[in-house]
Symmetry: C2
Subunit: 472 residues, 2 copies
């Protein structure tokens, strides 16, 4: 399938269908990705204002066989928003479709356009005393269309699920410009195949999400946050199990962190307040949101006491104020930025069967030590079995010193994950970075079926060419 570049002539033809303000300058900001590993290119940047304009763009691109890269907040970590080679594509930015179209507080439903920024959706939910629980470090710039296209995860998956679990319906423009209006407010609807979940997580390769109907949840009556020091990842799992016994679904987040996260913060972001005098090897952040009649601080104290008795924790801190809760969370949320500043040799967004996480960490650490001298910062969403197992140079070295080992680190780690029944793309998606992994580890029948679906829905292959599936 050969695509054509998005040329000035194509842009001129598009002007028949779109207002001038839809045409944006091709600035470098559209062509970079957060870790600065690759740059993309684009012949044209279009920012439509309506679903009909999106349809007009796709209809034209489909007819002219021009690649279209859907673009949200540009925060993706696997290059799904970056096209580094091939005929220059049209970059379709959702930055002007940012409306919150409706809020149905009494139904816990909010309808947003794809370009709405995640934190703006949080604010709109808060304004009606509700919660939109999808939360990721990039929430201030990520757009909901991208969150859905990549099925974003984040810190509240344990309680509320991934992005897909928070979506009731979609509006989608298909490759040929057809518009599916599926913005349902319904909780139950078995009218035919579930195209919603097929689109969610397809990373813009099967259609362009233009709006979504989102599920809100009631705000818990009381919230609380604690940090507890655990001896090992196994103890952390025991603590999670105890916490669930005591508080059921009340556990909103359960994040495992490692001493290296604190060391990296101290080194790169010294203004972040360190929670402990001496960085413990392993510790967890626990966030709870409880119903009326339960005091979060008391519940966390009870948990701590029981965990102490059971030998699962050795020390802990329970936030005494909203300001302190914020401080605890800032530690967790700034770790990715600290990692970026240190510069990883290789980063891995992986998941495992939850019970196998401790064994995995032990085996992975041994595997990495066998390759060379590295620092590992392993942290993540323990309750989901989702780790960010990131490998860094020793102090005084840089990632450039380890280019020779980099592929082996990634390859051997991913092999181990696969061997243990895990996934090498837990929450970031495939993008362009993990296509080899998908081909290596993915079920071959699933891959073949994915290709069949791609071919039937996007026969000219214009949608996000080279993302998820290799171009053939």
């Amino acid at each position: 399938m050969t695509l054509n570049p998005a040329t000035p002539a194509f842009a001129r033809a598009l002007r028949d269908h779109l207002p001038d303000r839809a045409f944006r300058e091709v600035t470098p900001a559209y062509l970079e990705e957060p870790r600065g590993r690759w740059a993309g290119h684009a012949g044209l940047v279009i920012a439509p204002e309506t679903t009909a304009e999106v349809a007009a763009v796709l209809r034209s691109a489909h007819a002219a066989r021009i690649g279209v890269v859907p673009y949200g907040g540009g925060t993706g970590l696997v290059g799904g928003q970056i096209m580094p080679e091939g005929p220059a594509p049209l970059l379709l930015s959702m930055e002007r479709m940012t409306a919150i179209r409706a809020v149905h507080a009494d139904e816990n439903v909010l309808i947003a356009e794809a370009g709405a920024i995640l934190s703006d959706i949080h604010d709109a939910a808060t304004a009606v005393n509700r919660l939109f629980p999808l939360s990721i470090a990039a929430k201030g710039s990520a757009r909901i269309g991208g969150n859905l296209a990549t099925n974003a995860g984040g810190v509240n998956v344990l309680r509320y699920g991934n992005a897909r679990d928070l979506c009731l319906g979609l509006e989608v423009v298909f490759a040929d410009g057809r518009i599916w209006n599926g913005l349902s407010r319904l909780r139950k609807d078995n009218m035919g195949y579930d195209l919603r979940h097929l689109m969610i997580g397809s990373e813009g390769t099967l259609g362009v999400i233009t709006a979504a109907s989102l599920r809100l949840v009631p705000r818990p009556a009381g919230e609380g946050t604690a940090m507890m020091i655990v001896e090992s990842p196994a103890a952390a799992l025991g603590l999670l199990s105890l916490a669930r016994d005591l508080m059921g679904e009340g556990i909103s987040a359960f994040e495992l962190m490692h001493a290296n996260g604190l060391h990296f913060l101290a080194q790169t972001l010294p203004d972040i307040r360190q929670p402990f005098d001496h960085a413990p090897e392993w510790f967890v952040l626990i966030d709870v949101g409880l119903a009326h009649g339960l005091d979060p601080a008391t519940a966390l104290e009870t948990l701590f006491e029981r965990a102490l008795e059971a030998g699962l924790v050795s020390d802990g801190l329970i936030a005494q104020s909203e300001a302190q809760r914020h401080q605890f969370w800032e530690v967790r949320e700034q770790i990715p930025e600290a990692n970026r500043r240190i510069g990883s040799v290789s980063s891995h967004d992986i998941s495992l069967p939850v019970a196998l996480v401790p064994e995995f960490i032990t085996r992975a650490d041994a595997l990495i030590a066998g390759i060379g001298a590295f620092r590992v910062n392993c942290f993540g969403h323990l309750g989901d079995g989702n780790l960010h197992y990131n490998v860094f140079p020793m102090p005084g070295k840089t990632r450039a010193d380890h280019l020779a080992e980099r592929d082996r680190v990634k390859h051997d780690l991913h092999d181990l994950v696969h061997q243990m029944g895990g996934s090498v793309s837990a929450e970031h998606g495939i993008g362009r970075l993990k296509i080899d992994d998908l081909e290596r580890y993915g079920d071959p029948v699933k891959l073949a079926v994915m290709r069949q679906i791609k071919t039937t829905l996007d026969p000219n292959g214009i949608l996000n060419p080279g993302a998820v599936l290799r171009q053939v």
Copy 2:
């Protein structure tokens, strides 16, 4: 697309691939459906024992262009398991693939074959102190493969979601016999398109589910059940909102029922204990499962007191024992059987935006009254906006007396549902009964995309021919 009948010659050829015990007698039980409205036919009934045998059957049927009707517990209410006409199909019964392949209690995961009966899965979860929350009236005979193929709903959707929300992974045989091994135990996995949700709810038309990885949940520390009398559906919604404010996710079920449900039970199943001396016009069943530190009975009393103050309820009963909880639930669970014995003119499995349910009931009642004299038994899962709005003859009449009005009742009601943004198939699926509805009310682009997917995954159209999509 012309299909061939499943002939004795085809059966003989299949014997090369399957043991004798896979060949079953074509008995009437396979060809009936619960409401006795239509009968199906089949040239052959095959009950494979392994996924490889399922693959062998499909490979042969695909090559010979013979229709295959996947068959679970036979409890579907929309004729998805019944092929009334056309070339005699092969009925593929999952009755011998009933194994619980694995239970990972510490991960809250259970892996079952498609033929496992829902209540057996409940028992296996209970045995490890967990809950598999999917619960429907037919749980004693429905099989999990069918529950997933139809995305079954039931009484716990409010808290735990539909069947699709309780499935982590699938094993599926596609039309041409290819096997997708997607039995993931992972909570997070973004490795390519989500085929799982495409298969769930596709009613056996895109592939045959042979096994599933299911999500278990911790058993709540304490459970309680109440029945409360409400003045109206609007008051019931107010009560639900209050209950959520007080107990958050602790509300496991919130079922609206009408006096006619009690009248029908009294008439047809007099052994069922009536909860009230005089049947109230509207009442709800509330089931809660709470964390440690909260007593369900106390929480339900608090709810009742607050609701009384707010004028939302006039009377109520809180179950004082497990036996009484069971009694309350039996009322709810036997209403469908009472309905069956009375014999409806027309039954409707519908959903609406939750906040519009009261308005819908008022308008629907007026609409029905305008058609003629009927009794309406409207009940269902109020928290999901899902009603079973069923229309019955007046005492002394039968459904046969109303054949002339039947289509109008259904048509006008469905029009009203659609006009109010609802779905005319909330939890039972499309099957063969609601194909006209899907074509009339479904989004045309969605329908076209569904056909594209069907054609690409089942080019010979052998899988459950005439279900969901009309045969062309």
